[in-house]
């Protein structure tokens, strides 16, 4: 049975280093299989977070050979096994131990996004009507499994630590899902620039590249939000037309 070397980061918030482990690999194995085999046979104290092993829970996010990936969805057959495979925790979040890091900041950010606020019901029985053309755009965003790989690869968080001024791609997807929802009546555009920092995104598309659910984060969520923000702040023509429309509407009312 062929073997491979895994260079796994061991340590905690105070610091750490890579340690090499050799293990056998078999056909169909993924990186998480190898890490769990090492944990079972060689390093019983190795901390690793995992749950479904099927790419649905988003728990086993890590950096494999420098790329943010789900360990359970990264087949060893995709990697060059003649060199050690590096496995390290995500760099955009505080480290707890070994491959486990504290992603709690994300949940704090989520609490600050204005929730769904539906418009008044369309029918007397208190229900709404929606066309498929209107909901299909936001359905893509509902695929998110909150693995936070997009947050990890975003250089605004990872390299510049703008966690206090920037909510990151995952939460722009969340804002877009709410803001573009055909039933939603809440206005979230004011916060986009002021406290959520959409202006920090410089459209590198790294978030889109690492998304295991293939959500087109930059093109379908972030850029449309930027454009809506521009409507509000940088487009006097649209503002003037909107004002005229409002004035016309007010004048023609009862």
């Amino acid at each position: 049975m062929p073997g491979a070397t895994f260079r796994i980061w061991r340590g905690d918030a105070a610091g750490g280093a890579f340690a090499d482990y050799s293990t056998e690999v078999t056909e169909g194995m993924v990186v998480l299989d190898a890490v769990l085999r090492i944990q079972a046979a060689q390093a019983g104290d190795l901390a690793v977070r995992w749950n479904c092993k099927a790419g649905r829970c988003g728990s086993c996010s890590a950096e494999v050979n420098g790329r943010p990936r789900l360990m359970c969805m990264t087949r060893l057959s995709e990697l060059p096994l003649e060199q050690p495979v590096t496995v390290e925790p995500m760099r955009a979040f505080p480290r707890i131990k070994d491959l486990a890091c504290d992603v709690g900041w994300n949940y704090e950010v989520k609490k600050r996004i204005r929730p769904f606020k539906p418009r008044p019901p369309d029918a007397p029985d208190g229900t709404w009507r929606m066309a498929q053309a209107d909901v299909e755009r936001v359905q893509e965003f509902r695929k998110c499994i909150e693995c936070f790989l997009c947050q990890d690869v975003c250089h605004v968080l990872r390299e510049h630590a703008k966690h206090q001024e920037f909510i990151g791609p995952r939460y722009f997807v969340q804002v877009a899902a709410l803001e573009m929802h055909p039933l939603d009546a809440e206005d979230r555009l004011a916060e986009l620039g002021q406290t959520q920092g959409i202006g920090f995104c410089n459209i590198t598309k790294c978030c889109t590249r690492v998304c295991p659910e293939n959500i087109t984060i930059t093109d379908n969520a972030i850029i449309p939000l930027k454009e809506r923000w521009i409507d509000r702040h940088y487009d006097p023509i649209r503002r003037f037309l909107g004002w005229l429309r409002l004035k016309g509407g007010a004048g023609s009312g009862p």
Binding site: A13, E63, N65, G66, R67, P68, Q83, T86, E88, R91, A92, F93, P94, R95, W105, E108, V109, R112, A131, A133, D134, V153, H155, V156, R158, E159, H160, A161, K162, H163, Q164, E165, I167, E179, M180, H181, P182, D184, T195, G197, G199, F200, C201, N202, I203, T204, K205, C206, V210, T218, D219, I223, P224, K226, E227, R228, I230, H233, Y234, D235
Partner: protein, 268 residues
């Protein structure tokens, strides 16, 4: 936002990464190709000569508002033009398509990586600690992209008109104008198709035609337009590069004809 500063690992040094692939190849390619295009187009714009041949007009010089070729809209160089300032018809108009590309969402991501290493590539260490993004001057001006889009749409109409004019050839001996088709006509036609694909796949256009609406189904024409632009938008990068190459090639083709180095092959 949460108030506490997160205890993160030390940022990596410039270029430091655990990635094993040739991550520097794409930003280097962007740097080389975009720099070559900027240098060539600047040189071509300042020439002010050899930009037209017969019915063909270089797209770098179209529309020729003032100039000395038969394509000029308002005659030769205006008398009010300062004598100390170099005159070239391209300098009057090239800022508009240049601004459209400079503020394009795709190119922004590409040249931030290729020219500023901000970041050099995904998950690779950066050279600077300080970062303002597009929040302050000058990068906040990127938000003017939609105004350049409005101008770019007008340019597509003008360039389509140039293709029509490139179908009519004048016989220098008799002065008669006849319908014809040359390689140059095809070069200019492909140029319009590629520039049109690039312009109509623009993210700002996608927003303006229907993306700005939450209930787009109530506006069926806008709904169709949104779907069409979204379809083109999926290949925006491809349109961007193909149109960039071809617009430069179109100028080279017309320039070579004008210099007498190439000859135009006529189909009929």
């Amino acid at each position: 936002m949460p108030d506490a500063v997160l205890p993160l690992p030390e940022p990596r040094r410039f270029g430091e990464t655990q990635r094993r692939d040739v991550w520097w190849l794409a930003p280097l390619g962007t740097f080389i190709v975009l720099l070559a295009f900027v240098l060539y187009s600047t040189w071509a714009a300042f020439q002010g000569d050899h930009y037209a041949w017969g019915p063909y007009l270089s797209p770098f010089y179209s529309p020729e508002l003032f100039g000395y070729s038969q394509h000029s809209w308002f005659g030769p160089k205006p008398v009010w033009w300062p004598s100390w300032l170099l005159f070239s018809p391209a300098l009057l108009i090239l800022w508009a398509p240049g601004g459209f590309r400079l503020t394009c969402y795709y190119y922004r991501g590409a040249y931030y990586k290729g020219f500023w290493a901000d970041p050099p590539s995904c998950a690779v260490g950066e050279p600077r600690k300080h970062y303002l993004g597009e929040n302050s001057f000058p990068l906040i001006l990127q938000n003017l992209h939609r105004y350049f889009l409005y101008l770019a749409l007008l340019f597509i109409l003008v360039l389509a008109g140039d293709v029509w004019k490139a179908l009519w050839f004048s016989d220098p001996a008799t002065g008669r104008t006849t319908f014809g088709l040359g390689v140059g006509t095809l070069v200019l036609a492909v140029n319009v198709v590629l520039l049109g694909g690039y312009t109509f796949s623009c993210h700002s256009l996608r927003h303006l035609v229907g993306g700005c609406l939450d209930v787009v189904s109530r506006a069926p024409i806008r709904c169709r337009a949104y779907r069409c632009v979204s379809c083109l938008n999926r290949r925006h990068m491809l349109w961007a590069w193909a149109s960039l190459f071809w617009v430069a090639f179109s100028d080279i083709y017309v320039r070579m004809l004008s210099l007498g180095l190439w000859s135009d092959w006529r189909f009929f």
